[in-house]
């Protein structure tokens, strides 16, 4: 077992941390306050090349392995969750199926520009009536001649209203449940495809999240992203674990941002003549937070390593997502407590981390679903 990051990964971590500190951290508060997509920052990131993180060098990417990718996800979430969500959606979910199954023309039109930051991609699963339960997907895809006709509405889509391309989950037959799911590429400008309501969120502000409407959208055959029909669930399985571990990495990033604020405050804030970091109860809080964050970090790297080695990772990824999220929620809560009244002020950052962390409760799967799934896996079907 090799427990340390390689020297190259350490250097990558250091460089990314520094890049985020210089480019993202100073803008984080403004992104949250204005709740506007930071286009300039997005363009700068496109130029730096991070948007191609997971794709091969030949297409302008970095070919980073999952462990290295987790380093990036953690750091960018630490910088600004509002910005991170958009970036990460584009790096992985919003482009993966195009990379995996798209024709050369589709890749040229969609993937390569997305890697450069010239276009924005998104993935659409969630609907009004289906979040965790994908088999309840109601967006339909009907084959008519050589074309597919898509009808339905998607909700809670990160980057949705500003996306140039959407990978849409649709069913050929609702009665087939999970066995009828497919991914389709829908590009902006396609008749019938429009952005609906933009959501006003508690946290992750800056990312534009909203509704997408598909009204008799006609797509050519090649826009079915998949080798065969109705294999969507299987294809999703290719990245599901990574998406969960990635969410865990974001959770760790948010926790780290909050933790660092808590640490600085504990060292500098004085009460009754001593820095509050000298008091046992405060020390205990840091001991607990640091321990759980360390455990989260190890689980993230371990799960990412399993994905990299192509070992089974469904169980580990689910556990990691849950544990890291619970840790993050505890840390952001504790830090606002440590900050006292200042933790309640919009002027400072702890409240932003507190609000941002809430998305973790449903992003990548709700914990209730994950627990049920894990429990069933461990005990076996009875």
């Amino acid at each position: 077992m090799e427990f340390s990051l390689t020297e190259e990964q350490e250097f990558f971590k250091k460089t990314v941390t520094d890049t985020i500190d210089r480019m993202v951290v100073p803008k984080a508060r403004e992104i949250d306050e204005k709740d506007e997509f930071p286009w300039e920052l997005w363009r700068q990131f496109g130029k730096l090349g991070y948007l191609g993180l997971r794709y091969p060098e030949e297409v302008g990417g970095m070919n980073a392995d999952p462990v290295t990718a987790m380093i990036f996800y953690e750091q960018i979430a630490r910088g600004s969750v509002g910005f991170a969500q958009s970036v990460i959606m584009n790096i992985l979910m919003g482009t993966y199926f195009i990379y995996r199954f798209g024709s050369d023309e589709i890749k040229a039109r969609c993937l390569y520009p997305a890697i450069k930051g010239e276009k924005i991609g998104t993935m659409c699963f969630t609907e009004d009536q289906s979040g965790s339960d994908l088999s309840a997907t109601r967006t339909t895809a009907v084959k008519e001649g050589g074309e597919w006709v898509i009808n339905g509405t998607k909700m809670w889509i990160t980057n949705g209203p500003i996306a140039d391309m959407a990978t849409v989950l649709a069913t050929t037959d609702p009665k087939l449940g999970a066995k009828g799911l497919n991914f389709f590429l829908v590009e902006k400008g396609t008749p019938g495809f429009s952005a609906g309501q933009v959501l006003d969120k508690l946290g992750c502000r800056g990312t534009v999240t909203g509704e997408l409407v598909f009204d008799n959208v006609r797509l050519p055959g090649e826009n079915l992203l998949g080798e065969e029909v109705n294999k969507g669930t299987e294809y999703l399985g290719e990245i599901l674990d990574e998406v969960r571990v990635m969410t865990a990495a974001m959770a760790l990033g948010i926790a780290q941002a909050a933790f660092d604020e808590g640490l600085e405050y504990a060292r500098k804030r004085v009460a009754f003549g001593k820095s509050i970091g000298s008091y046992q109860l405060i020390r205990a809080k840091f001991a607990d937070m640091a321990t759980e964050m360390e455990a989260s970090r190890l689980m993230i790297y371990y799960s990412a390593w399993r994905i990299k080695e192509k070992l089974s990772s469904r169980k580990e990824a689910a556990m990691t997502k849950m544990f890291a999220t619970e840790t993050c929620l505890k840390v952001v809560d504790e830090v606002t407590r440590i900050w006292g009244a200042n933790g309640f002020a919009r002027e400072y950052d702890p409240q932003r981390h507190f609000r941002d962390a809430r998305f973790l409760l449903y992003g990548g799967g709700t914990h209730e679903i994950i627990k049920d799934f894990l429990g069933r896996m461990i005990i076996g079907k009875s």
Binding site: V16, T19, R22, L48
Partner: protein
């Protein structure tokens, strides 16, 4: 244009520093960075290369993680790197350090040497001018603007009461000050290149140096012990509303402290 940049590996500005025992040594949190002023040197070297062509080489004296400074330089775009990697190089005063670095530079045909005006750990500011003297070159310190043309550098320095503009023929040494430029953030492609880079190292022997001439052994000034800075006693708050506190403050400053 062949440009050499000297960059130092220093503790991060936020790293915790503790004096151990009765001051014999320091315990420093293991968080590092490129010395702030050296970043301006790296960036300027790259900008000059962009304008005039040539090669940029970055040299660092240090062991262990010091190599990260060179990787950062490569990530930013420098062409070559060299690590003076040997214990004998370490712990030197300005003189011993400048001697080692100038020998490493002397092996190159170089038109310009850039380095930060001072390292943010030792705060000596000696190595730049000393390297220039060892190499027999002119130098300009605390540069905030550089123009290179026809084998000459026109440099603007920040001085106490304004600015001075001088001209030196190349080759020359310039030490860099904040305000010269905004260091770039490396592209991912640069980071990948840096991650894979095989970086050459030099020992004292490679540079024709005796271990006695360099590092701690070759230092003429030595640190006898570390001391904490003078501790200020707790602040005295001046109470009252604005006019009242203002009047009281004036009284204290003029009559009690006698600083006005």
């Amino acid at each position: 244009m062949n440009i050499v940049v000297l960059a130092k590996h220093v503790p991060d500005a936020e790293a915790l520093i503790e004096i151990k025992g009765t001051g014999e040594k320091l315990e420093i949190e293991q968080k590092f960075a490129v010395s702030l002023f050296d970043e301006f040197a790296l960036e300027e070297a790259l900008r000059i290369r962009e304008r005039l062509g040539g090669r940029v080489k970055v040299i660092t004296l240090g062991t262990g993680k010091a190599i990260e400074v060179l990787r950062t330089g490569i990530a930013m775009g420098v062409d070559e790197a060299l690590l003076l990697d040997h214990e004998a190089f370490l712990g030197g005063d300005g003189y011993a350090t400048a001697l080692s670095l100038s020998r490493a530079i002397a092996k190159e045909a170089c038109d310009l040497v850039l380095c930060g005006k001072q390292a943010v750990d030792d705060d000596r500011g000696e190595v730049g001018p000393m390297v220039a003297q060892f190499l027999g070159l002119p130098h300009v310190g605390s540069v905030v603007k550089v123009d290179i043309a026809e084998g000459r550098a026109t440099a603007e320095s920040l001085v106490e009461d304004g600015r001075v503009v001088v001209e030196v023929p190349l080759p020359a040494v310039l030490t860099t000050q904040k305000g010269l430029n905004e260091p770039r953030v490396p592209l991912v492609m640069g980071v990948m290149k840096a991650m894979k880079a095989q970086i050459p190292r030099a020992t004292p022997e490679d540079l024709g140096l005796d271990p006695n001439q360099i590092g701690l052994a070759g230092s003429k000034v030595r640190i006898r012990r570390y001391l904490p800075p003078k501790k200020r006693s707790q602040v005295q708050f001046i109470a009252g509303d604005a006019p009242g506190a203002a009047a009281e403050a004036v009284r204290i400053l003029i009559d009690v402290e006698r600083v006005i």
